[in-house]
Amino acid sequence: SRPLGKRSLPEMVVDGIEVYSTKIHCRVTSRFAHNTVTTRATNRAETAKEVSFDVELPKTAFITNFTLTIDGVTYPGNIKEKEVAQKQYDRAVSQGKTAGLVKASGRKLEKFTVSVNVAAGSKVTFELTYEELLKRNKGKYEMYLKVRPKQLVKHFEITADIFEPQGISSLDAQASFITNDLLASALTKSFSGKKGHVSFKPSVDQQRSCPTCTDSLLDGDFTITYDVNRESPANVQIVNGYFVHFFAPHGLPVVPKNVVFVIDVSGSMYYQKLKQTKEALLKILEDMKENDYLNFVLFASKVRVWKDHLIQATPENIQEARAFVSNIAAEDTTNINGGLLRGIEMLKKAREEHQVPERSTSIVILLTDGIANEGVSRPEDIQANARNAIGGKFPLYSLGFGDNVDYGFLEKLALENNGFARRIYEASDATLQLQDFYEEIANPLLTGVEVEYPQNAILDLTQNTYKHYYDGSEIVVAGKLADKDMNHFKADVKGHGAFNDLSFTEELDAEEMEKARQEQDYIFGDYIERLWAYLTIEQLLDKRKKAQGEEKENLTAQALELSLKYHFVTPLTSMVVTKPEDNEDQTAIADKPGDGGWAPEGERAGSAVLVGYQPPQTPYYYVDGD
């Protein structure tokens, strides 16, 4: 008699390797997502083979663990300071050995790739864990997963368990590659009270791109979106001496905006980029509210303006603005400094001369595709000029268009002025990307938001002042309680609304705190501490981008200490997995790039080893955490 064993279909073995299981399990507690990707494979060939493991994870996520299990023996990952890890990595790479790293991959993702040699008949398990704080945008939290198995997988599964103490108000899951048939049978989603669940489990036949095909149709985006109940504008959760305070009021009128669009119309914007910009501006103009004010500053070698001062967005003025936008043409060189300062001055003058409503907020939106080469062109000088001219009075948002933009410069420019930077990818949906960005900031409900806690009660607070609170977003503040056993918690949030000043108070008494403690049995207990650490590191890294000298060193040291303590792969750390008896051959590194460099979307795993740690052949390929 023959022993019973699992039989593999030949079509599921590609180049000798059978990937028999890929599972993505997401656990979300209070917006903090803990995701584990596990792939199990067997080398069915008669010789040793290389097995690859690719995961695309959100840029906002930090890897927290990576383990490799070969024939039942597990090799865990160790977080090390980047420089220490790099020596090991360099040694492996210089010998042509296996090494893995994370690199930018498209708009929202970065890619983790690692390959190991597996002996004939051996089994290998890869397990990657990453964590991120889901951010609320336009009224939804979004968890984004990239699904791209290289072959048919016997057990393919995505599951998400969501626990939200405020209660879940909506939950949805969408897959870009899914057909209606697959949707009906392989995807389930449900929520009730505080718990939500999503499961996507296609059978092997459902994975086939056609009934007789052996390649997979699973290739695309899998997105889970949800929101929580908001009976009250704020929610505070306290676990093990750490707290998190979510604040997202709604039902408030929109604060009028004074917007100056500072637009690059230099030669490089010619045709497609300018066409997309104009389309987006025309749509944005449609969405402007009548009590908003606006103007356009166009810069090439010279700076010119639509109007000498800000104009109210009346239907007549919007009509005129549309005509102006339609006739924008590209020309000449790039004078970012000139355009920016003209826009900033215009906003300041409008406020000083009471041309705009007293209760309104001012915003500069800079859109450029290139590097300054006219007028003041040193990035540091432009940044200093903008910083001094704005003086912290209003935010500046930078939109970097295309591949050749100096994104690091634009990001610093925005961060120094209480804004943020976005890349606009020059694809067919660039117009939508621009509109999406505008919609995010189009509806400020509060300005000058300050979150206050009783003095001496709180330690190590994350950012607690914000220039704006936008409709559909959420302010998150976390910290440590001075007294772990305190039984009363109070927080005040102050802000300026469209017509009035508002002061929200959130209080938790002993009874509510005890109720929260009881819920900890269900959730993973230290999530608030990790959420606090994640948020602190993220904000330290942002501050570090705009800091210099000793301040930068201090920020780096603090971020590094927390990254090591909480096992986060950040731009300052790397994770090293070493097989003890053969450490030269089996070194794998999980690393995190920043967005300072540019990796074209076409770059894939094959070039992963080439970039980041070896001197780049051209700056074009350079991707690194710094």
Binding site: H250, P253, F499, N500, D501, F504, T505, E507
Partner: protein, 240 residues
């Protein structure tokens, strides 16, 4: 709903009920000088009683407007809406929030009350009375209190507003009533002679569930004789 009128000069209080159909909107306060108007909409129990003597009515919606500030506030047991002109802000009774703007402060105290002050003038307190959600008969309702009413103008009128001016009354011939704990008497007020009953009503400003007893002279028949004019004079078509 029941009304309690404190009469400081007499160190006593008057009270009366208004029994109107649910949906009726009453003018409680109107001050043409300060521009303040308060209207209240009546609600009944979940199960309506056909007999007007046994049915309970309450205020289920209050509309407070200040014409000069172009501000309107609508309060229901579910939510609080504030309009500045056409722009609306909505708050929940689960909020603890203070809204301040030129000439007005509104403080919502989570699940308890709203304190609404207009400049250095009058203060209104709206109290939330919550009952058990699954109560077969009763429903949540609102209480309305006026503090520093003397700061409103002499031209203030309305079911409550008419009592913001000095009021005099005389009570005589106090005698036992049908209920021994509730003596009856004869009251002379606003040139009317009325039969009144001694009783008590509750002030819920401090605690919406317990309340403080306020002894008062109860005027029967929808305050007939105490109120200026006819009850119909106080019925208005809408909250604003």
């Amino acid at each position: 709903p029941h009304f309690i009128i404190r009469v400081p000069g007499k160190n006593d209080a008057l009270c009366f009920n208004i029994d109107e159909d649910p949906g009726t909107v009453l003018r409680l306060i109107h001050d043409p000088v300060t521009g303040l108007t308060v209207h209240g909409e009546i609600i009944g129990d979940k199960v309506a009683s056909a007999d007007s003597k046994t049915r309970n009515t309450y205020f289920g919606k209050l509309g407070i407007a200040n014409a000069y500030l172009d501000v309107r506030i609508e309060v229901t047991p579910e939510k609080i809406s504030l309009w500045n002109g056409e722009a609306q802000s909505t708050f929940s009774w689960l909020d603890t929030v203070t809204v301040t703007q030129n000439g007005m402060t509104m403080a919502i105290n989570r699940k308890k009350n709203i304190v609404l002050s207009f400049g250095d003038g009058v203060t209104f307190v709206v109290v939330l009375h919550q009952v058990w959600k699954k109560h077969p008969v009763h429903r949540d309702f609102l209480g309305f209190y006026v503090v520093d009413s003397h700061r409103m103008s002499a031209q203030t009128h309305g079911l409550l507003g008419q009592f913001f001016h000095p009021l005099d009354f005389e009570v005589s011939d106090i005698r036992p009533g049908l209920d021994p704990s509730k003596p009856v008497a004869t009251m002379v007020v606003k040139n009317h002679q009325l039969k009144v009953t001694r009783g008590s009503q509750k002030d819920y400003r401090r605690d919406a569930s317990v309340g403080v007893k306020v002894a008062c002279w109860f005027i029967h028949n929808n305050g007939e004789g105490l109120l200026d004019g006819d009850l119909k004079d106080y019925i208005v078509p809408a909250l604003f």
